[in-house]
Amino acid sequence: MSNDNKGPQGHGGGHNDDITLEVATPNGVFRGTFDKNTKIEDVIKTVVADRKLSVGDTFELFSGETQLTPVQRPLVSFGFSGTVKLTLVAAGSGV
């Protein structure tokens, strides 16, 4: 299920402006490289499309317990560099 991808603004592995993401999703792991200035909302769109998740559903991106919001912020603003492990979680609960 996993796949290696270059994000839409990636410049290739090893570039100082790149951040490599490993993202656990409801449909397996996404791996891809993005420019550090890529916005979170664009990361989510790329991962949703690549993992063939339903675009009509709501997804939230987390680094550990920290939700990456607002989604207009770029990756680099969260202090990320190198390879980063994230989780893309579908909204949905009850109570």
């Binding site: 299920m1 656990a24 998740l53 559903d57 979680v89 009850g94």
Partner: protein, 151 residues
């Protein structure tokens, strides 16, 4: 010949395996339609769930709190204290958990949800696959868990 439930679990299991490897979960398939999953919580301990999918996906799976050593389910010491969708009755209260339906389990808080319509329940959101459900439980354990219901 495999049942529809067995085929559904087999189709979705690789995604669970990938996430388990990346996130450090312990995943064990116990039968063609059941598996156990152990995930870290915010206090550094681990919680386990037993997912029973014998009528999946016509009905949602049953997510039990689980003790991998004793094989018991839904014991207080293996169940998080109530917070968020960790309901005081001891079940995970979500339309994607069969145990949340009073028609299935007397602890189930909901007699107003139709189990056959679980996918279209607005509160299901994107939690329509085993991988999505497992991620949601893992996140709640990390974000909101406040200890166990018994020592």
């Amino acid at each position: 010949m495999p049942t529809a439930s067995e085929l559904a679990v087999t189709a979705e299991f690789p995604a669970l395996e990938e996430n388990a490897l990346l996130l450090g979960w312990k995943l064990e398939r116990l039968s063609p339609t059941s598996f156990a999953l152990t995930m870290p919580a915010s206090d550094g301990t681990f919680f386990s769930v037993l997912c029973v999918c014998d009528r999946y996906s016509a009905e949602p799976p049953a997510w039990h709190w689980y003790n991998a050593d004793t094989k018991q389910v839904d014991q207080l010491r293996d169940t998080p204290k109530e917070v968020g969708f960790f309901h005081p009755s001891g079940v995970i209260c979500a339309p994607w958990n069969r145990l949340a339906y009073k028609s299935v389990d007397p602890r189930g808080p909901h007699d107003d949800w139709q189990i056959g319509h679980w996918r279209s329940n607005p509160q299901t959101g994107g939690c329509k696959t085993l991988g999505a459900m497992a991620q949601r439980i893992a996140l709640e354990l990390k974000l909101r868990m406040q200890g166990r219901r018994a020592a």
